[in-house]
Amino acid sequence: MIPSIPQPKSFRGLYGAYVLLFFVYLIAPLVVVGVFAFNDSMFPSLPWGGFTLDWFFNDTEPRLGLFHDGRLLDSIWTSFYIACWVTILSVSVGTSNAFLFERKTFPLKNVLYMLMLLPLVVPGVILGISILVFSSTIANWLDVNFGVDIGFLRPSKFLVILGQFSFITTITTLIIAARLRKFDTQLEEAAQSLGASKLVAIRTVTIPYLKPAIVGSAIVAFLMSFENFNTTLMLVGSDQPLTIAMYGRLREGSTPELNALSLLLMAVSGTLALLSVFVQRDKE
């Protein structure tokens, strides 16, 4: 069943058709979401009402376009704010973790490595509630014992950032560690031999080598944060990130404005995806 082994033509045709069908299945939902963003109708469904850009640019109700919908734009901003923090935190800690696990030996290393992988196997909803429970415990304790109420320990942007950070860091650690593993430590020694101190050697040689992985993991972290729903749902406060706002709209019944928004999201994440593929491959 490889090209060098002859197969009946009918088999090949059927196999090809199956794979084609698979890709139709893969692409169909994305295509319809995109297409209905331009439907001149109140609903993102058939019949096709003609082509319009209202769902992007119209500025009056009931056909409020995406770029004039203050509530949605606010939630995009909230998501952006959260994603930036999550990216900075998870890439920094991920880089530190990568150096720790690839370069150092210390007691309980294997146990800590297993713990570090844990967020991959814990469902996002549970990560969310556990952090919700713990932060409330702390907040209640502070309230009872000191009479202070720390707002950000209640569901808030801060908790969302912590919740997303708690599992995205595992991903960034794995990406950066994989690259660091391929690094030849002789390069660092060479830098030292040429007059660089250990830290300067890491800054001028190791970090530039890791750059594709750092940039790649930052893109992944940003997108995962921006698109996260499960963990965020449990920790969200009054500022709704985009996914939560969109979810609310979807349940209310949607207008093609959501399609416009989805199309925008697809365009942005598609660009970032291409960028990350490009970054990771170019410097290899």
């Binding site: 030849d184 002789q186 020694e189 060479a190 031999s193 040429l194 007059g195 101190s197 050697a201 530039p208």
Partner: protein, 383 residues
Amino acid sequence: MTRLDENNNEIDLECRDLRRTFGNFVAVDNVSFGVPKGDFFSILGPSGCGKTTILRMMAGFLEPTSGDIIIKGKSMLNVPPNKRPVNMVFQHLALFPMMSVAENIAYGLVRQGMNKSDTATKVKSALERIGLPGSGDKSIKQLSGGQQQRIAIARCLVLEPAALLLDEPLGALDLKLREHMKVELKKMQNQFGTTFIYITHDQSEALVMSNHVAVMNEGRFEQIGTPQELYYHPDTSFVAGFVGDSNRWHGKVDAIDGSVIRVSTSDGISLLSVPAGGEKLVVGDEVDIFVRPESIIIAHDEARAQEMDNRLSGNVVSVLFNGANSRALVRESKTGGELDVALPQTGEFSGLSAGQQVFLGWGKQQSKAFASVNSPTNKGHGG
């Protein structure tokens, strides 16, 4: 406190009683040596003999357990690698893949805080000196193995180090390029006049390039000398066996007559030899005898070998034809032991074939006897 060697050359780099252990394992065992300025000094030894450990201690990547390293009259103990006036060329070169050729060469200069225009000038002239002018903007991957080699050396030499430490840099190259780079390295060393400290397990690299070679085994230096001294006057049986090819016998001293000893070998022949290595031999001592393949005269008729001190006859097992370096493997008729014999380049033996009877002979001066240390190996053919 400048020290001089026996020829009044300034000693640039010196190791005193250098010792390094890893747990119970003694990697380097009280090694002392000095390298005069401008020397091409090689440390030759089998893998695991401790030569890399010495080099890494000089470079500063390992601290000695005891002893001292003195470079330009200053002790290097507790001096980090980046503060030492030596630079290292790594086995796999360790060129920075994310930097251009020019950035690689400039790396050390930038670390010294040299300004941009001076750096650029130095890089440019370095590229010209190594015969790669205008390659500064290329990426490392665009260069051939030999060119990368030159960049790795130039990157160090622009810093004008007291010595360049080279860790088997030819090991990763293919055979043909390696032969070429040997000559090239020697030329670069002459051109820049920098002290080279070169470690290798390949004796031909050491012999071809070096002014001085230290042969190292199990953490100790067996002998330091010029390549000629090592080849013609080995001090120990290890050196005799490791440098160049030798036929080797193990035996007991039968009789001593002035400077000549008679040895009966364990496979039952009697050989005249001279003692080597400085130990005083007495009758009954166990010895190892080494005879170079090219010291053995080969003849079709017995008469030619007649006047030699040691005579054997045998049959050719196989001819190992390799142009000027052709050899014959001969099975000695009495003992069945095999000997490696170099074929003269006169063409006289071009028709030699397996099975033919030949007569062998060599002078007593060519057979060197060393007191056996602890090597009861009885090989007819060593090297």
